[in-house]
Symmetry: C2
């Protein structure tokens, strides 16, 4: 075998040996998610106008760069004893990791959102969790 052929075949052998592992690593990283879930209770719980204003603010905020996925929700029709449906708006974000969530926390758009809209809410509860997509 020529030297060039040997180098080429060795490179292929290395690629064959390492690519599945590398792919598995990438797959694991892809499944790892930082889940940031915020529930908002309004100062005027019955005000649809205030709820819509808050949702508008969140829709703009959803465009902030390190956010991988954003979902804006309102309480579903389900109503069992363990279900808390007293909040007005649910704001669910996926990040790749804690670092990205910290970038979001300090992002000028996020600070502007808090400044412009925090007069609307009475209370927020935040649940941050780390783990994997199944």
């Amino acid at each position: 075998m020529s030297r060039r052929g040997f180098v080429k075949n060795s490179a292929l052998a290395v690629a064959a040996a390492t690519t599945p592992l590398a792919a598995a690593g990438a797959e694991t990283r892809k499944k790892e998610l930082f889940v940031h879930h915020v529930y908002f209770w309004l100062k005027n719980p019955g005000s649809e106008a205030d709820r819509n204003k808050l949702i508008e603010g969140l829709q703009a905020l959803a465009k902030v760069k390190p956010i991988r996925m954003a979902h804006i929700g309102t309480p579903a029709a389900t109503n069992r004893s363990v279900i808390d449906r007293s909040y007005a708006v649910s704001w669910l974000l996926f990040f790749d990791n804690l670092e990205d969530e910290e970038i979001y926390q300090k992002h000028p758009e996020h600070l502007k959102f808090v400044e412009q809209y925090s007069h609307l809410w009475e209370k927020v509860i935040v649940y941050d969790s780390v783990g994997r997509k199944q």
Copy 2:
């Protein structure tokens, strides 16, 4: 134009006129999500063994058919005043709609999970919300 030609061209015109709308409709439906988020507090909050047992049960449950996405998490390192990090396990599910969530609630695998694992938890809070991915 022959009748056949006319029918064919009309059909194409109708397809051209309706497909973008149909696609937009499909896109909207794709973005609509029913978000079911459950937080578990253990009877033995300090028991890593109990937490792992519960996670094992959830990992099996994640395979139930109408679930579109499942994420199993534990509290992140973030620790601000608005963050509740007292729970042990976060169980986040996406469904296409309320009907699919109801299928999941009544699914034999879900009932079996509650039967086998509910002795582990002290409290659950569920937040169900409907809305759109942004």
